[in-house]
């Protein structure tokens, strides 16, 4: 169970914008300001509703579709994200929009292997211990194979969390994981709690990105790191044309064939185009209060990793 997490936080303490978002999200009440859903124009309330339904319907085929759309490259992108994070044992990670757990599992693997290296090095330094002492130290260390590292997977969508939990069980991940239902615009956690906040391919589905960034800032400890992996703008014009062709002609078809859902994948492709480019997103992150904000393009900008620190 996630330790030290506060129950649902009162909104009144937050700024007026959040209050507006709350009004907008209550179904049937004031519709809220206009925003986009893919290339359509909808109200904020409608957008949240539609996106929820998109992920509800794709949840079971989410991983399969990721593999077929990106030809498996999304695995490499996620590996690079965790390597960049370089977590040490004892890190508390919050993975937002982490639904099916890809980042969380990689985090656990990484921390486990770092821990093993640490233990090996410790043993090498203690080569003058007796056999008994060495055996005893194995006992102690076995109980802490993760070194107190923990990951909290937060997602707004119940279906995605369900799929994630099943996957965890299937792959044998038992300790160090917690699954929490929550909204990135309004996290159910207390201030200054987490070492790292990640959001992989989730932030473009958030209706009020600025709120999500502010929440990220709030729940991170001082010195904590914000990492975002997201589709971004391609700089190379030739590649950009091929990419557009592939996105609009191939992906929705794949969506229909594999998941039986053309519309959801049409939305996905359009939402990528609507997401702000690297520099603009970097500016938004800085506005939320992060320092040393930087980004790294992967595959010429098809995907970008943005990083910032709470200083």
């Amino acid at each position: 169970a996630a330790a030290g997490l506060c129950p649902y936080r009162a909104l009144l303490a937050r700024r007026g914008g959040a209050l507006r978002a709350l009004c907008g999200s209550v179904r049937g009440l004031a519709a809220g300001p206009e925003t986009h859903f893919g290339f359509q124009t909808v109200t904020e309330a409608e957008r949240r509703e539609k996106i929820y339904r998109v992920f509800e319907s794709v949840a079971k085929k989410y991983d399969v579709m990721n593999d077929s759309m990106t030809l498996g490259i999304h695995r490499v992108w996620k590996d690079i994200l965790v390597h960049k994070m370089n977590p040490s044992p004892g890190t508390l990670l919050l993975d937002v929009a982490g639904g099916t757990g890809d980042i969380a599992f990689r985090f656990i693997n990484y921390v486990r292997s770092v821990r093993e290296h640490q233990l090996q090095r410790k043993l090498r330094h203690h080569q003058n211990l007796s056999w008994q002492e060495i055996a005893e130290s194995y006992q102690e260390d076995k109980s802490k194979s993760l070194g107190d590292s923990q990951v909290v997977i937060c997602d707004i969508n119940k279906e995605m969390l369900k799929v994630g939990k099943q996957k965890a069980q299937h792959l044998g991940y038992s300790e160090g994981l917690s699954w929490v239902l929550g909204n990135a615009e309004e996290l159910p956690f207390d201030d200054d709690k987490f070492d790292v906040y990640t959001i992989a391919f989730g932030i473009r589905n958030v209706t009020r990105i600025d709120l999500a960034l502010q929440e990220a800032y709030r729940v991170l400890k001082p010195g904590g790191r914000f990492l975002c992996l997201e589709f971004s703008q391609v700089s190379n014009s030739l590649l950009s044309r091929l990419y557009d062709l592939y996105s609009f002609q191939v992906i929705p078809v794949l969506g229909e064939v594999i998941a039986g859902d053309w519309k959801s994948y049409q939305y996905l492709v359009e939402s990528i185009r609507r997401f702000p480019p690297q520099e603009e997103f970097k500016a938004m992150i800085e506005d939320a209060g992060f320092f040393k904000v930087d980004y790294q393009n992967l595959n010429s900008g098809i995907v970008a990793i943005h990083s910032g620190f709470k200083l």
């Binding site: 040490s88 070492d195 001082p222 209060g289 620190f309 200083l311």
Partner: protein, 293 residues
Amino acid sequence: VRCQLSPPHRALQASAVLRRVSDEQKEPLASSSQQQFDSHPTNHQPEQEPQGPRPSYTGQGGQESEDYESEEQLQHRILTAALEFVPEHGWTAEAIAEGAKTLGLSAAAAGMFHSDGSELILHFVSQCNTKLSELLEQEQKLVQLGEAEKKPTDQFLRDAVQARLRMLIPYIEKWPQALSILLLPHNIPSGLNLLTSMIDDIWHYAGDQSTDFNWYTRRAVLTGIYNTTELVMMQDSSPDFEDTWRFLENRVADAMNMGSTANQVQSTGEAVVQGLMGAAVTVSSAETSRAVR
């Protein structure tokens, strides 16, 4: 356009960690290490001029922000704190993470630095050079006040190099690792820069006022002496590094005995080649010993 929009936003977000410079004044330890790469005056305007695309953060009246330390100063504080963990963890991101933790920051703050520990090493070298400068400055003052004798050049050089190398003693076990990291291509410019300015400093306080070719010769010779002595020190196991100091004495004596310019030029070349050979040998033996472990 963006620059003008951001300042009011920044003012709303009081920084979580960057503290007022007035707080820093109470910590004498922190302030001495501030005169590093950028020689910023710590008191006023830590970062008024925007460096590159990053907007400098100005407060509501442009007044509050002047008192906050910049990110660079915070980074220096973290690196200084990390030094105490180097004997245990080496020049690595782990040492930096431990350092960040002692300042009350999350270990994730180590992500601000390169994962091979380069910045930590460069920070340390820079700190040592500053300490050496201060030491030499004080000695010079004593001489000027007539409270001490002016040392002959060879003794001056010997003492200066020894003082500088002694600063490595607490970290001597992990220093070969640091040297090999400094020889990585992306670190060579900064490393060389620090080395040459240190050598410059020593000659300056030694009273060198040459403006001819001798200027280059003297620096090359002293650089050779320093590098070779450093390498000898890595492999020295005598009590209090006596062998190293004797080696240093001999090298300085050799340098002093170089007579004509022709000799000097030849010895310069030799000194440089020796330095490079020694560096290559040490790096390869450090690498093999690391691989064996």
